[in-house]
Amino acid sequence: MTATHLGMPAFPAAAREAVRDDVLRANLRRATHTIRDKRARAVSELADWDRLRAAGKAVKDHTLRHLDHYLLRLEAAVTAAGGTVHWAADAAEANRIVTALVLATGEREVVKVKSMATQEIGLNEALEAAGIAAYETDLAELIVQMGHDRPSHILVPAIHLNRAEIREVFRTEMGRWGRPAPDGLGDDPRELAEAARLHLREKFLHAKVAVSGANFMVAETGTMVVFESEGNGRMCLTLPETLISVVGIEKVVPTFRDLEIFLQTLPRSSTAERMNPYTTMWTGLGPSKGADGDGPAAFHLVLLDNGRTDTLADEVGRQALRCIRCSACLNVCPVYERAGGHAYGSVYPGPIGAILSPQLRGTDEEIDASLPYASTLCGACYEVCPVAIDIPEVLLHLRERVAQGGPATREGIRVRIRPARGHTAERAALRAARLLLERPGALRAGERLLSRARRLRPRRLPGPGRAWTDSRELPRPPREPFRDWWARERGGRA
């Protein structure tokens, strides 16, 4: 994965800043609660939701178990339909391929449809280094790009900003990228959307090269699918002469029919709509192979690994590859709501990010080793996931990798991960607790000691205990442990 976010502080420290930012807290609370309730309503309309969820999971699992087969089928179908397929093992290779394809067109500008994969690999930075300007066209991506900011949500990358903050970005930055914001721009979302429409229209109408991702790729037909709302996707996918799509290898599904599941579950899970405004499906260069002037004359598909096969090698962790990037898990997550997306130090924030990033990037960096612990294991994410990813299960699995070490795969090679630094004291404490808990005699003595010390009742503990007492009183130890009461009151009976 790209180094963009590396060197980030670990999650707890980054989250501390977010928790103290009252504006951010209010923005996130408002946005996540709005969408949370709407999603619940949209899902409750479908009596067969649980069956659609089970089918979506099964399709993804089946595809992953035969991933090589389906990718080869996809490659054959895309090629037969006039497209060209490229394979990239990592971010650097993908960036090289895309840069070369753009340079070969002679163009120095590309328009982009929102795509997690291209953010993950840092494509915009790579293109910039080659003298190519990449313009984000999704409204939220545009806001983030113009504000020199980082995305904080999968679906709505500017969720951390409110309308007034977005107006400021447009007022001060839009002119540097092209058509400036209209004078007297207000902060009504309609006005802001109108400003983006006017600004981007010029770019769409003359763009010659577009870069996209895709939500799904159909192996049997070679069909690519992009879900969107604004129409920027349609602009990029149909007007330019050259289209380059960078797509993670886990996005393939076997058959066209399989889309009947995800066309029902993805919109309801992500934007809480029965259907999103626009979905585009295209197969290579179409029936006329590009001769009818409907759509690009050249289509390139770049299949991206970048840690996905390492994730696939892990029998527990591979379920994260079922993810369809709906972001329902972010919207219900109580930790995301308080910590915000930036604290996760990755383009994939929230619960899904906490299990994806440490698998795609490994757990060497402090931020990645802290992500599996960025959860109370409350299970709300699993409950709403439309492909039934048991996120708490994977979090626990990755905690084990961090704390205890164990087997993993990195860049295709089986390795043994050593326990992470910084867990030594914790390991000793939990081991000591276990030894105590294994010996009821010693446990009883310890409990009595606690009861005897009850008069001390400290308000603040030193060392690691401070983490509790900074915000909370300690429980008051009782006069005697339960087992002593039992021995006294009922002991004779047993």
Binding site: A15, P372, S375, G379, A380, A433, L437, L474
Partner: protein, 258 residues
């Protein structure tokens, strides 16, 4: 009917009144309660922090301590979820690592006999009115593991609603996590505290006298947050409310014996 009480380590050491309440409640309902002294902790703190191997001896100890009892009842959704959801996984992983089926067999033998308290009352004993009397306003926070891992549903609310004198007030945003999360409370103290503060704010806004829960570890976090704020709202485990009768009333004054 004979049942073993799995009081859990947190209740044993810090909340014995909850254990006492479970014993009195179950005995009142005609259950022959036993407390196997060999029990200690289910191993959840180790397992949830990433130390699966450290949790294995505790799985073994727990399974053996409760061998032979037709029912094992615990006043903690979290500890029951640990046993029901994770013991089989720990067993399967050990088997997959070539360490035999001992843990898997122990887990398989224990899991079907273990019940969270409100499950045991409603599903096994078939009661929702346990004959309790508790003349106070109460709001109920369903802890996540009980709510989502065990699917306790409205069992606790039905039990509370049947208590004579009790006025049950719905807690807005009840299904949201309180922010305890085991070692999360100290590993991510700022987020944990922020979640706790929001939960406490919602509970105080109901105007209830008592914030009731079915997991004392979550209640320790909320109680600590409330006391730091000097709030008059008291926390109580559901067992203590259900055990309360005209003759032996649980008070809302000071949760712990002085």
């Amino acid at each position: 009917m004979r049942a073993a009480l799995f009081v859990t380590c947190v209740n044993d050491a810090l909340y014995p009144r909850t254990g006492v309440a479970v014993v009195r409640l179950l005995e009142r309902l005609g259950v022959d309660v036993d407390f196997p002294a060999a029990q200690s902790c289910c191993g959840q703190p180790q397992y949830n922090t990433g130390y699966r191997y450290e949790s294995e001896p505790l799985l073994r100890r727990t399974a053996r301590a409760f061998a032979g009892y037709p029912y094992v009842v615990a006043p903690s959704g979290s500890c029951v979820a640990m046993i029901r959801e994770h013991y089989p996984r720990i067993g399967a992983r050990a088997a997959a690592e070539g360490r035999g089926n001992e843990l898997a067999d122990l887990a398989a033998g224990l899991v079907p006999r273990v019940y969270e308290l409100t499950e045991f009352l409603v599903d096994v004993l078939g009661v929702t009115d346990v004959g309790a009397y508790f003349p106070h306003t109460v709001t109920y926070h369903p802890s996540c593991h009980g709510l989502r891992a065990l699917g306790l549903g409205d069992r606790p609310r039905r039990l509370l609603a049947a208590v004579r004198g009790l006025d049950l007030i719905e807690l807005p945003g009840a299904e949201e996590c309180c922010g305890f999360g085991g070692t999360f409370a100290v590993k991510n103290p700022d987020v944990s505290a922020a979640m706790g503060a929001d939960k406490v704010r919602a509970a105080r806004a109901t105007g209830a006298e008592v914030l009731c829960g079915a997991d004392n570890s979550c209640l320790a976090h909320l109680d600590g947050t409330l006391r730091r704020a000097g709030a008059p709202l008291r926390t109580l485990h559901i067992a203590e409310i259900l055990a309360s009768t005209d003759e032996a009333a649980t008070t809302t004054e000071g949760k712990h014996p002085r």
